[in-house]
Amino acid sequence: MAVLTEKAKINPDLKPDRLAVGLGGLASILIIFVLGFLWLRDGQATQVVKAFVAIVWGVSGVAGLYFFANMSAESLPERWMKRVQPFVFVGPAMALLGWYLAIPTLRTFFASLYNQQGEFGLSNYVAVFTERIMVEAWTNNILWMIVGTTLTVSLGLLIAILADRSRFENIAKSLIFMPMAISMVGAGVIWKFVYDRNPDIGLLNAVVQSAGGEPQAWLSLVQPWNNLFLIVVMVWLQTGYAMVLISAAIKGVPDDLLEAARVDGATEVQIFFRIIIPSIAGTLVTVITTVIIFTLKIFDVVMVMTGGQFGTEVIGVRFYREMFTSRNDGYASAIAIVLLLAVVPVMIYNLRQFSKRETF
């Protein structure tokens, strides 16, 4: 950039010849793009040749786009060049994001304003917040958010701090982290077996029975606790993630600090709360917000284990059912928009934390 700006300073006026070359180049690249596309779609050639051409055509085409767009920008008078040039480089990414992210969001929003009968209005949103099943879903999601996040983060923190002082740190951490490798659906299936009504299959009931208790249908009849049994599955999956990040942060706290505090007169508990926790606060916030977002979007575990029945409905499952079972696009869109609005503030806070820590 510095080199480009210097060039411009030497010659601050519009350079029509360069602009012409730049725009001409852009136009020809666009034509090549279109022709290339048509040939790749309809042309008669073997797969290998087509693949090779596609690579050359795509990569050099994009490079050419940047090159000629930059050339055009540089030929403008200095004042304009400075305004236009950043967009030459950021612009394509912005355009792609807009295409894949912004436009679908807007279309979802518009879709959410029409109900199943095609009437325009806010009726979908009213339903999202008033329908009995939706109220249940919201309540459950809040339960997921509070209980799930608290358990995940506090267990992760506890294990990280204990492992840090243990000789078996690596083994312990590997064991805790292992469930992360299992898909949500897989975990759902595994735990469905654990909770099975039949003590010959269900581990939990086997334990209960051997302790002299009565086998229970944990996921269906033990309401409202069955929600907690589902949350346990997510905690099992996510504690490893929380632990790994927190553990790395704890290792980043210099030993000197802890020793200084020890000499200053702090007990180990005081050191934990007054030195370690503030030192890893940034990481903790990141982990907490990430897990919160995760719980808000929860879908797979519930879908696999109860399908949202027995009072375990959550927003994610609700959305899926409206969209793909009831074919009620507008209503599903309204759910998606509300969920998005719930996640956005957490995301913004998270991003702010990230940028703050860069300057730390």
Binding site: P254, D256, L257, E259, A260, A261, R262, V263, D264, G265, A266, T267, Q270, R274, I275, P278, S279, A281, F360
Partner: protein, 380 residues
């Protein structure tokens, strides 16, 4: 305020002995410096005193109390760390107040103590800043301030100056010395830098490979090193060493290095007579090798001639790197010396200030004699 005693202290990590049978008595209000090359066990010893390392064997006493099993927080010590170890999430004020808050000191008392200490250290205007907004020198002062507000019985400092640049380090040296005089508390200071040790300590303990080599005042360490290690470690540029053999010459003793000979007059030869005919190490400090043209009138000169290999103009003196008969050595000569690389120069070694060590034990042969001489001199 308290004395500190290391009694037969041993520190082992598995089979590795890091500190081997350390015995030191530090008097109340003393400024003791533990000095030695890295890995000599000086920091480990300090950390055992602070309670940050377990003691493998032996006893450490603060005052009359054995503190082996006392937690660091109950030892009433304060420590300044090499990295300063300031709490990054607290302001300077909170950093300094932290120890007092933990002890449930009343708010007004904390406030007064912190502000007094800050005033004393010239960091009043920084109290609301965070450590990362401070320069190295300021951080160092905050670390010291955090130690003083606690009114500890013993101050421990673990290389507190090694993260400062050269100029600040010289300032900080005198600042810490003044602080010691002002606070009248026991200071134990760890460093690898013999200049810091010499300039600050009332006594210096020289450690090497986990063993105490010598503990004495800076003057005595310099003028009467107990063994070859101490002789080579204290002083810069380091002492020159020559392999030599002692010979008898009537009443006097002759040191023969193969390159030159030094005759020790009869009245000084007594401690060396028993080693006549044996292998020894001759030690001569660079400042005791003079240009013969400018040699002081009061020395006992022994003539040597050498080739000049390198000349370093220091302004106040000239450092010469010399060579004779395959043996290289260094001399610090008068600034008027006319020295040219490649030329020969006539030198004079001050016989009164040579050191002779047994080749086997590496111990100074005249240690006791010189000790008595120094004591006599001090009494006069």
């Amino acid at each position: 305020m308290a004395s500190v005693t290391f009694r037969n202290i041993v520190k082992r990590y598995g089979d590795l002995t890091v500190v081997d049978n350390l015995n030191i008595e530090v008097a109340d209000k003393e400024f003791l410096v533990l000095v030695g090359p890295s890995g000599c066990g000086k920091s480990t010893s300090l950390r055992m005193l602070a309670g940050l390392e377990e003691i493998s064997d032996g006893e450490i006493l603060i005052g009359d109390q054995v503190v082996n099993n006392v937690a660091p927080k109950d030892r009433n010590i304060a420590m300044v760390f090499q990295s300063y170890a300031l709490y990054p999430h607290m302001t300077v004020y909170d950093n300094m107040a932290f120890g007092l808050k933990l002890r449930k000191t009343p708010k007004e008392v904390i406030d007064r103590k912190v502000k007094d200490a800050a005033k004393n250290l010239g960091i009043e205007h920084l109290l609301q800043r965070r450590p990362r907004q401070l320069s190295g020198g300021q951080r160092q002062r905050v670390a010291v301030g955090r130690a003083i507000v606690r009114d500890p019985k013993v101050f421990l400092m673990d290389e507190p100056l090694s993260n400062l640049d050269a100029k600040l380090r010289v300032e900080a040296r005198s600042f810490i010395s003044r602080l010691h005089q002002q606070l009248e508390t026991t200071f134990i200071y760890v460093t690898h830098d013999q200049v810091e040790a010499m300039t600050m300590g009332t006594r210096i303990a020289v450690l090497n490979a986990g063993r105490l080599q010598q503990i004495d005042t800076p003057y005595n360490l310099y003028h009467n090193p107990h063994n070859v290690f101490v002789a080579g470690f204290i002083g810069s540029p380091a002492m020159n060493f020559f392999d030599a053999r002692l010979k008898s010459d009537g009443e006097s003793v002759v040191v023969d290095t193969g390159v030159f000979q030094i005759q020790i007059p009869a009245h000084e030869a007594a401690p060396y007579r028993s080693h006549v005919g044996k292998e020894v190490i001759l030690g001569v400090r660079p400042e005791n090798i003079h240009d013969r043209r400018f040699q002081p009138a009061d020395i006992e000169p022994a003539p040597v001639t050498a080739n000049i290999e390198v000349v370093e103009q220091m302004g106040s003196e000239i450092v010469l790197y010399l060579e004779e008969g395959g043996k290289t050595f260094i001399a610090r000569t008068d600034p008027r010396t006319h020295a040219r690389v490649g030329a020969r120069i006539d030198l004079a070694i001050d016989v009164a200030n040579i050191h002779i060590f047994d080749r086997q034990t590496e111990l100074s042969l005249a240690y006791e004699t010189k000790l008595e001489a120094i004591a006599r001199r001090n009494n006069n």
